[in-house]
């Protein structure tokens, strides 16, 4: 498990400010609020999208085109060739085919945990903060406690107690989600608190809106970028966490993920034998998927924290200026 999440929680900013600023800056036809929620395209974001898109595509589609990932061949541990793009495992299984299926498995668990953890954190973060008072204090204490309890050891202990038969995909997903919602809940709470105290929420209450409507219609849209960002973190954490668990042999039984692939690679002495084609790709896919997601998050962060965006715009302007000066000098 890795801390991809910058240790700084995003600063709580007023999206209105940002919207106004964006508007002024654009100068042209005003864009819709939804459009403004979308991150601005940057090379890093493009890279992130390409990475994630590519891996998701590979994970979802490739498994229909590759052969049987379990089929064994007499050519164990052979390097990449034209027929077998990524060579074979110790038992002559097609690594490329296995990778396709494993990627799908990892994506599944990542998505599942992402959704579960986001729902949990939204409940504890948003609902608690909206209710305020005792519920808020209790929820916030709970998430702070969960935050300081180290996740993976807890997951390991839980997995250790659950017999293998009951260690299905869902169990692992639930366990991972249970141990990874806290940080998000804290961020969401901070954001909700800031949004909750905005005047338009008070105005909606004065107008007589029901609480759930206030949360869903007035507050939630403003939290979308944060939710998206937390979801992305949860996915990364889940993919990494599951890989760790599976690598230790504590993953979901009968599942095929990048972690189990690495487990088998380790089991088959892939690295000592120099079978890089077996060992490197699963790890790389995890890392690249994580990187891609983190890069996307990077851009979402800019929405949440406009100061970051300023930094980037600043940078671009500096370049523009340099160009302009060069032109002026040339003229």
């Amino acid at each position: 498990m890795t801390n991809i999440q910058p240790v700084t929680g995003p600063a709580v900013e007023d999206p209105t400010e940002l919207l106004a600023a964006a508007d002024g800056e654009q100068g042209g036809k005003p864009r819709s609020a939804w459009r403004l929620m979308l991150p601005t395209m940057t090379p890093w974001l493009a890279l992130g999208l390409v990475l994630v898109g590519g891996i998701v595509l590979y994970g979802t589609v490739a498994r229909f085109f590759v052969g049987d990932p379990d089929a064994i061949r007499d050519i164990g541990m052979t390097g990449p060739s034209r027929e077998l793009l990524l060579g074979t495992t110790q038992t002559g299984q097609d690594v490329f085919a296995q990778l396709a299926h494993a990627t799908w498995g990892s994506l599944q668990i990542g998505f599942l945990v992402g959704v579960l953890a986001t729902v949990l954190s939204a409940f504890f973060g948003i609902y608690g903060a909206y209710l305020g008072g005792f519920a808020d204090e209790a929820f916030s204490l709970l998430s702070n406690v969960f935050l300081v309890i180290p996740g993976l050891p807890l997951v390991i202990v839980i997995s250790g107690f659950v017999p293998r038969e009951s260690r299905g995909l869902w169990t692992i997903a639930v366990v991972l989600a249970l141990t990874s919602w806290a940080a998000s809940a804290r961020v969401l709470r901070a954001q909700t608190l800031s949004v909750r105290n905005r005047d338009y929420v008070a105005a909606a209450r004065i107008a007589g809106e029901r609480p759930w409507r206030v949360i869903a219609v007035e507050i939630l849209p403003n939290l979308l970028p944060v939710l998206a960002s937390q979801f992305v973190f949860a996915v990364i954490a889940a993919v990494l966490g599951e890989a760790g668990l599976s690598f230790l042999g504590l993953g979901a039984s009968n599942s095929s993920t990048l972690g189990t692939m690495l487990f088998y690679a380790q089991n088959g002495f892939a690295l000592p034998l120099g079978a890089w084609w077996w060992f490197l790709p699963p790890g790389l896919i995890i890392a690249l998927l994580g990187m891609g997601l983190a890069l996307i998050n990077f851009s979402i962060d800019e929405i949440i924290n406009p100061k970051l965006k300023n930094v980037r715009l600043h940078r671009r302007r500096a370049r523009l200026l340099a160009k302009a000066e060069k032109r002026a000098a040339a003229a």
Partner: protein, 540 residues
């Protein structure tokens, strides 16, 4: 890999005479040198000694250790042993027949320590002679008595509780004594007053690493001299690790153990002998050996007599003599069809709407078995049998086996104290005490829950015959082998090669294929003790 930094790390003057042996121990050592404690740690065979050493790896006479000679009386109820003179314990006290008597009496007093079924009496005739006596003929118990029991000093053990004492400073007659102990490693030091002369290897160090993979890494780094366990790319050891060589001994017969006996409560398709036999034919052993065992495994006889040392005992009635090299899906199919199975649309056989699908239990971390199962699963699929491997911890796995809560388990059957098939049969096929109905008390060795009165009778009869009595024993073996090849409660896979890698640049005298003077496994205490004594530092 370049074996760079070697053992410079050791840096002490006796590095050249220090043997670093890795037993596969994962996690720190926990001090316990009580050879009778279940959690006793490595090296005990070198501190305490039995009366004789019996080599299982090749046919040979028992080698005298604390005993020098032994003989049976005519009806096989009395075994007389002559003890070696002039042996002293490492604390200087003399070794006498009383120590032997004390040791065996201890088993009578503490049934918990009686792991091999000692049920006789022992008397000291004089200081150098003891006599073991039984009520009934006990030829087959002989090897256990003379080669499997560490003789312990009465003057110390009479004052301790042998069941719980961990023996911080063990006193034995063996070639080594305890050096220093740390959780990360402990050492044994040559016993200069050893009766056979001080061994040339002065120090043996046993490090604790995290497992086989770590051991392989340590070999690559040149920090250990002897490891028994899977070695990556073993065929190219000389190239990969120029200073090392490997040795292989085939002893453990790998099987798919089944919970075979529906009468004892087993459930699942594997209770049908046809399914077990079909699996037997479904395995492509050549491929399996290549993919999972780097071709280190050897052929196996369905009779479970080791082909290397026990071939003469294989019954003519057993056909084939050795398990087929190649898969025979056709044969497997016809066996299944004869038993009423029909192939379904998915290519898997089914009977009464029940798919022929089985779960195999394997222990997490048993790398070669896990790979083997991957391979077997695919091979079985071709023969229309669906297998699913399930990994669990050793405890859970053992628990399931003992309770009968499993369908198939990959495991290996072990040998007795002497190279003779009797022992294996008596461990794994004997009904009665050795097994128990599913869901009651844990089974003994016979966790396949095989039960056949004919086989039971034959095994009992074998006890009354000397091991050398070929004419008398063969018919009994014929009976047993015919039954077990037909029923196949343990489906033979291959005979597992126990591979070791050792540093030939630093030490000479390792067992070779021509001279397997001991079973070369660092964790096999008696054998390892012989090897330690035989090794010589290369420089000397």
């Amino acid at each position: 890999a370049c074996g760079g930094s070697g053992e410079e790390g050791g840096a002490s003057g006796d590095a050249a005479t220090t043997l670093v042996a890795y037993t596969g121990q994962a996690g720190d050592w926990q001090l316990n040198f009580n050879p009778y404690s279940p959690s006793s740690i490595a090296g005990r065979g070198t501190i305490f000694e039995p009366l004789f050493f019996i080599n299982k790896a090749q046919e040979s006479e028992p080698k005298p250790l604390l005993g020098t000679e032994y003989s049976w009386n005519a009806d096989g109820t009395e075994l007389s042993v002559t003890l070696r003179e002039g042996v002293t314990w490492s604390d200087g006290e003399p070794f006498t027949a009383d120590d032997v008597v004390f040791t065996f009496d201890m088993f009578t007093e503490h049934p918990a320590l009686n792991g091999f079924g000692w049920n006789g009496t022992v008397t000291a005739v004089d200081d150098t002679h003891v006599v073991f006596a039984w009520d009934t003929p006990a030829y087959t118990a002989g090897p256990d008595v003379i080669s499997q029991v560490y003789i312990v000093p009465e003057h110390i053990w009479s004052g301790i509780d042998p069941e719980t004492d961990v023996l911080e400073k063990p006193v034995g007659t063996g070639a080594y004594t305890i050096g220093d102990f740390k959780g990360q490693a402990f050492t044994l030091l040559a016993n200069d007053s050893y009766w056979g002369g001080a061994p040339a290897v002065k120090t043996i160090r046993f490090p604790a690493l995290s497992g086989n993979q770590a051991g392989a890494d340590a070999i690559a780094a040149g920090t250990i001299d002897w490891q028994t366990g899977p070695i990556p790319d073993i065929q190219n050891t000389n190239k990969n690790f120029p200073r090392y060589d490997t040795g292989t001994a085939a002893q453990n017969q790998m099987v798919l153990a089944t919970c075979s006996n529906a009468a004892l409560g087993c459930t699942g398709p594997q209770t049908d002998p046809a399914v077990r036999r079909a699996l037997f034919y479904a395995i492509d052993r050549t491929q399996l050996n290549a993919l999972a065992f780097q071709d280190t495994a050897a052929e196996i006889s369905p009779s479970f007599a080791l082909t290397a040392t026990q071939e003469k005992w294989i019954s003519d009635a057993v056909e084939p003599k050795t398990a087929p090299e190649k898969a025979d899906p056709a044969e497997a199919g016809s066996i299944l069809e004869a038993a009423g199975y029909a192939k379904g649309a998915d290519g898997i056989y089914a009977k009464d709407g029940q798919k022929l699908s089985l779960t195999i239990e394997v222990v997490t971390g048993w790398t070669d078995y896990i790979t083997a199962l991957q391979t077997i699963t695919e091979q079985a699929k071709k023969a229309g049998i669906e297998l699913q491997a399930a990994q669990s911890s050793w405890n859970e796995w053992t628990d399931k086996r003992m309770k009968g809560d499993f369908q198939l388990a990959i495991d290996s059957l072990w040998q007795g104290p002497a190279p003779d098939p009797y022992y294996l049969y008596s461990y794994f096929y004997l009904g009665g005490d050795q097994t128990s109905p599913v869901g009651t008390k844990p089974a003994g060795n016979n966790y396949g829950r095989y039960s056949n009165p004919e086989v039971d009778a034959a095994i009992q009869a074998l006890k009354a015959l000397p091991l050398e009595d070929e004419a008398g024993r063969q018919p009994l073996f014929d009976t047993i082998q015919t039954a077990i090849t037909a029923d196949m409660p343990y489906i033979p896979i291959l005979t597992g090669g126990t591979t070791s890698i050792w540093n030939v640049e630093k030490f000479t005298g390792w067992p070779t294929d021509d001279n397997q003077y001991a079973f070369p496994a660092v964790w096999s205490a008696f054998d390892a003790a012989e090897i330690y004594k035989t090794l010589k530092p290369a420089g000397s």
